[in-house]
Subunit: 395 residues, 2 copies
């Protein structure tokens, strides 16, 4: 008889989204369930050219072992770029990770003992929630209004949970709601984090993909102490298959994260790091970002229009100013899961909202829609099907 | 006042090898301290060509998100290859990891609670030991003779430690000793693992790099139950910068590892996985491996000859039949650390043996030498310096 799994991992199931994504293996299914960047947003030719340059000019650099902290030139570029954005401050350090999710996971690892508490927006990104669960941490979700996490509820949670280690937040175009936390709310949340002596882990994968409205200052920018840990990624601005993200924060904390990374991936694929560095320095990066924003603006508008045309008015839709997702909420008297199951039977996949709850058993009346991955035709047809489905089921 | 680090990570320091490697930033220092494959072993042109093919033929596949389990074609190739080698068995599963060390780390994560015990060869690979330490696990080292881990000592440890979860072993050309565990010893260790109901985690990064003697059956091959978990890597047979390794074992266990990977890197850089797959299927892979063996045979012989010429006879040297390392042991009356410090002052870096001990405070009289990274000229000159150093210090 072999030994059982560790307590922290024994109960952790595969992401619920994957169960939905199984249906999307059927080529007839239109998937609004993914979180993939638009494939047309990949600068394929430029990446191919840069990769060829790398293998012509510095093949051994791109193939040999490298340092855990990350490719020095890319770290330096990030440091300068983040300093310009007032995110990187004196005493800070940047480390490259294999995607932002590794940055989030290693932060939980270095800060949390089993039984500790992490506070997040409810709902929140399931990948991060599962990272936290994998360390036997208790997750407490704080409800949101249109301005973000409710600060009065947050303070009650902080008072009741002295073992809270950090507040996890996606302030811009949140996954799954598309919600952006208002500036005043950010200040309130940060003040509470300082009052109760805990960190804020700010996850900003979509920040550059703003297609409407004005940028709001990051938590990291607003922080005048060492309370905020910031993560970003090249997944949505270059390509997610590269798995290049980063962690930025107080050097002592980030150095401990390096020790953690050293015990696992050792370093991030070095070709991908060199590629990212050459990309941001060799192309007109600002123009590239503007191009992405235009793609996502168009995609979002296409889906918003199609949903507006097809869905009954009583289904509430979030109005993201960037990012990849729309959050749809049906009236409480209907069964959201039943709606999602019926939709996938009719070959349109969306993600049931409870997958994103801190407590998955908590009932949700919402579902998540992604507009970045499907084609325009799929958006039109899928929304038409959802509309018919809604009219038949929700009446 | 911010919260402290987690208990499991608070005491974990950066790898001791890194302290030595700092000296090797000095271009005048000849480093025998690394564990890098020989750069001339990288099939640079072929990799460049395959990469160009990928970006011409399937750029989006190489840039978009992929599945956590790994690139299906590579997994299938590994499954077939490992089945041929009697390593993959019915009911097994292969998952791709971001280097073998991630496979090792995630195995510790899914199996171990804090306070559990992992048993290893003493000395052993520091990267793995630090992975285990990062989960608050107690590591117990078992001494080795020329045939591997001593089985009587192993049984005593197993009896005394009911919380032992697995035995970690590098059976071929072990890091750091270069030692290969004899077939009979493997059978004894496996029988003990079965008797006490614990896993064997078999780490085989160097197995293909045999340049003398005959292959010995893997633990995984010898196992007729589900006791052995096997990890391999493309780091030493293709390129370590790619960070492509894998875990092979019982499907239930490997599925749990997938859940663990999903919470961190999500998936391994997909370009690197496609590259590895195309490489093993498009080139004459057996001929490539034979070429590597020839390179390492020559490198090893060069260093063995140079050490034989320069070092006093009372320094014992291991005689690896493959891999990257020679283990040197000086008489007990001398101070090994002092010798290593003096050597690095004279611009030759080696790794003090205690870095590899389960308990780093335990005195060691050995140091590790690497012959794969230095050039022939550096091998000759470095051994000459070590010889002079030994003659002056050890007398």
């Amino acid at each position: 008889m072999l030994k059982p799994f560790s307590d922290k991992m024994a109960g952790l199931a595969p992401s619920a989204i994957r169960e939905i994504l199984k249906f999307t293996a059927d080529p007839e299914v239109i998937s609004f369930a993914a979180g993939n960047p638009a494939p047309e947003a990949f600068p394929v030719e430029t990446i191919g050219k840069i990769s060829a340059d790398i293998f012509r000019e510095e093949p051994v650099n791109a193939l040999q072992y490298s340092v855990t902290e990350g490719y020095p030139k890319l770290r330096k570029w990030l440091e300068d770029d983040l300093r310009k954005k007032k995110i990187f401050k004196d005493g800070d350090m940047v480390v490259i990770t294999s995607g932002a999710q590794q940055a989030i996971e290693v932060t939980a690892k270095i800060l949390c003992n089993e039984g500790d508490v992490i506070i997040c927006e409810n709902p929140s990104f399931i990948g991060s929630l599962n990272s936290f669960r994998s360390y036997g941490v208790k997750i407490i979700g704080v409800s949101m209004d249109e301005n973000g996490m409710k600060s009065d509820e947050l303070e009650a949670v902080l008072k009741a949970n002295p073992k809270a280690k950090f507040i996890y937040t996606i302030p811009n175009f949140q996954n799954p709601t598309g919600n952006t936390t208002a500036l005043e709310r950010r200040k309130e949340v940060l003040a509470l984090a300082k009052k109760y002596g805990i960190y804020v882990l700010e996850d900003n994968p979509y920040g550059a993909l703003r297609f409407a409205g004005e940028d709001v200052a990051c938590y990291k920018e607003l922080d005048d102490s060492k309370n905020v840990i910031y993560t970003g990624t090249f997944s949505k601005i270059l390509a997610p298959g590269l798995r290049v993200g980063y962690l930025c924060g107080d050097a002592e904390l980030v150095s401990k994260a390096v020790v953690g990374l050293q015990t696992t991936t050792v370093h991030t694929n070095i070709w991908a790091q060199i590629l990212a560095y050459r990309f941001v320095t060799e192309v007109d990066f600002d123009a590239h970002i503007k191009g992405l924003q235009a793609i996502y603006r168009k995609k979002y508008q296409r889906m918003a229009d199609a949903l507006g045309e097809n869905l009954p008015d009583f289904i509430e839709l979030s109005k993201p100013q960037g990012g990849l997702f729309i959050w749809a909420t049906i009236p409480e008297k209907y069964d959201m899961n039943n709606f999602c199951v019926e939709a996938v039977k009719r070959k349109v996949a969306v993600v049931p909202g409870n997958a994103f709850n801190a407590d998955e058993a908590q009932v949700s009346h919402s579902f998540r829609l992604n507009y970045s991955t499907p084609t325009d035709e799929q958006i039109d047809k899928g929304c038409e099907i959802l509309g018919k489905c809604a009219k038949e089921l929700l009446n």
